[in-house]
């Protein structure tokens, strides 16, 4: 079980992107394209920071789902999710390795957990991906 995928991704702990540098690069590209294009490093860096921004925001959204279900980033709650995933891993068969859906009950609501598993040569299941979907309320 890659604990970091729960403790980092799902708990909103993906490292924040350099917001000010992103703003400066976007502004330069918009207002002075000639200067921006003169240094190819600008485009490379802009793409790199945008990637960090998307991954950071995805991690934040996952944590929002966790909070909506009434949980926090405490060791206990991380442990509860890992325990849930371990129980899911036991049920996973070769036929349903991709996006295995399960329901996790938090104190304030349910969370749909989509996990993808890899079967190792020794037959063990290993969590490769994790997505969290909060249960929508009726008025949402």
């Amino acid at each position: 079980m890659p604990v970091a995928k729960v403790a980092i991704y799902a708990m909103g702990k993906y490292k924040k992107y350099p917001e000010e540098e992103l703003r400066q690069l976007q502004e330069l590209k918009q207002k002075d394209r000639k200067s921006f294009d003169a240094d190819s490093e600008n485009e490379r860096r802009l793409e790199e920071i945008k990637k960090l921004k998307h991954n950071y925001e995805r991690s934040q959204e996952m944590f929002e789902s966790i909070k909506k279900a009434g949980m926090t980033d405490s060791i206990e709650d991380i442990g509860a999710i890992i325990k849930h995933l371990l129980s899911v891993g036991e049920k996973v068969e070769v036929q349903n390795l991709v996006k295995y859906p399960s329901q996790f009950d938090g104190p304030l609501g349910q969370l749909t957990v989509l996990s993808t598993w890899t079967v190792l040569p020794d037959g063990a299941r290993y969590l490769s991906t994790l997505q969290l979907i909060p249960q929508k309320k009726e008025n949402e």
């Binding site: 993906y14 490379r44 790199e48 991954n55 490769s128 991906t129």
Partner: protein, 156 residues
């Protein structure tokens, strides 16, 4: 390292610049969306000829989440502008707010390229739809006013 071994790692444990393009393409189309976003970006930074095809596959199959799709439209715009414009033209009338915002960010960042037709019409349409969505938001606020002193993160 095999694809499966890489997918067991977290995004920050992978040195993308050292990976061959075939591996990057597979990672970009994987279900591990943090790794997929990074792999697609690496293909784009390398200006890999396969980057546009991977981006198109993500967009045409609505693969992953809105973050991966936002990365994909940026890559497609860089590598195959005509196809990106066509995608925007087709999607703008009915896509969700996340994709509209992504399109608007792309348009703003590349404003000079949207000053002539047919790109200008796409930019206008995207702006109009965002205004419509904002109008719906304002109508909802009138029907369900917030109690005094309560603020939302939505700009007025």
């Amino acid at each position: 390292m095999t694809i499966n071994e890489l997918l067991m790692l977290t995004d920050d444990q992978i040195e993308y610049h050292g990976l061959p393009e075939d591996i990057l393409k597979e990672l970009a189309l994987s279900e591990e969306l943090f790794i997929a976003t990074s792999a697609l970006t690496e293909l784009s930074i390398r200006k890999s000829p396969g980057a546009a095809a991977v981006a198109w596959e993500i967009l045409s199959k609505a693969h992953g989440d809105h973050h991966l799709q936002a990365t994909a439209i940026g890559v497609l715009f860089k590598m195959n502008r005509r196809q990106a414009m066509e995608f925007m033209r087709q999607q703008a009338p009915h896509c969700e707010a996340d994709m509209l915002n992504t399109m608007m960010e792309l348009i703003t960042e590349n404003a000079p390229e949207f000053k002539a037709e047919p790109a200008l019409s796409i930019a206008r349409f995207v702006a109009e739809r965002l205004q419509e969505l904002d109008g719906v938001k304002n109508q909802l606020r009138e029907i369900f006013p917030l109690p005094a002193g309560v603020r939302t993160g939505v700009p007025a």
